[in-house]
Subunit: 166 residues, 2 copies
């Protein structure tokens, strides 16, 4: 059979046989796979009234543990967007009543973004179905390949300095 990238690499082989295709293929497949997964995740989140990034932010707060609050700065580092986007996203989630801004006396430059009871309940109820959904999306990979695949991804990420969430 072959995927879309096979067809693309065939074109390159015809037009520019001097180019080595392995890296191009992996680069393209990673882009396409990420895109497909993101679309599929978006469909799932939409069933529950959430945007992709809204789910991400709620999940980040949830996995930080009680009392389920982080500063915008911490949320920024945990994300892959810039500060303006974080402010905007917090605004939207606050308007939905899923998080709230809490100022503490300690350092008044800072704000805590805290899951509301509703936000906590929502994300806690969604994590199980989300994991099931992602598992289903990746279920085509034979079990005996899974460990090596994940390990390869980790090797690449470590080499690109993706080594910390702090």
């Amino acid at each position: 059979m072959g995927d879309a990238m096979d067809a693309i690499l065939e074109q390159w082989a015809r037009e520019r046989p001097d180019l080595d295709t392995w890296a191009m293929g992996v680069n393209g497949r990673l882009a396409r796979l990420r895109h497909r997964l993101q679309q599929a995740n978006r469909d799932f989140y939409a069933e529950h009234g959430l945007e992709n990034h809204e789910f991400d932010m709620l999940a980040t707060l949830r996995r930080s543990g009680a009392p389920h609050r982080l500063t915008p700065g911490a949320l920024l580092k945990a994300s892959m967007v810039t500060s303006g986007a974080i402010t905007n996203r917090i605004d939207k989630l606050e308007a939905k009543g899923l998080v709230e801004r809490v100022r503490e006396a300690a350092d008044r430059r800072s704000v805590f973004i805290r899951l509301t009871p509703r936000g906590l309940e929502l994300i806690d109820g969604l994590m199980g179905p989300h994991v099931e959904n992602v598992s289903r999306l990746l279920s085509a990979l034979p079990p005996e390949r899974r460990e090596e695949f994940d390990a390869s991804l980790r090797i690449l990420l470590e080499s690109l300095d993706d080594t910390s969430i702090h």
Copy 2:
């Protein structure tokens, strides 16, 4: 050592030990890896005055073979964005003199987007360095792992119906 995703999965293991983490890990690593690669590619393209998507469109036209022209519809299908974005991108590349709109008598609903001589020269000169750059970015993956890694990506893409560029 461990990558950023290891730290995230550790948090989940502490907070929600009931969740199976393999699929979440792969999903997150694919997102992060794609993001890192896209950033690195962007830096490379920027050295040559191109945006990420501009390089993509020029490369799509180049690999289609002489006479290096495709309709906006074909460029749309080859991309992962919507029609408004395609029109906008063509406008920008046309303003830079790298592609031109050509109407043919055959079907006047259609337009061909054709690489100009400058556009062809630019993308042809860039493909070699681009492949070198991507190869370097992926060089941490041991050679004996590469074939299986690529094959696993293909398995996943085929299962998600990413099977055609037409």
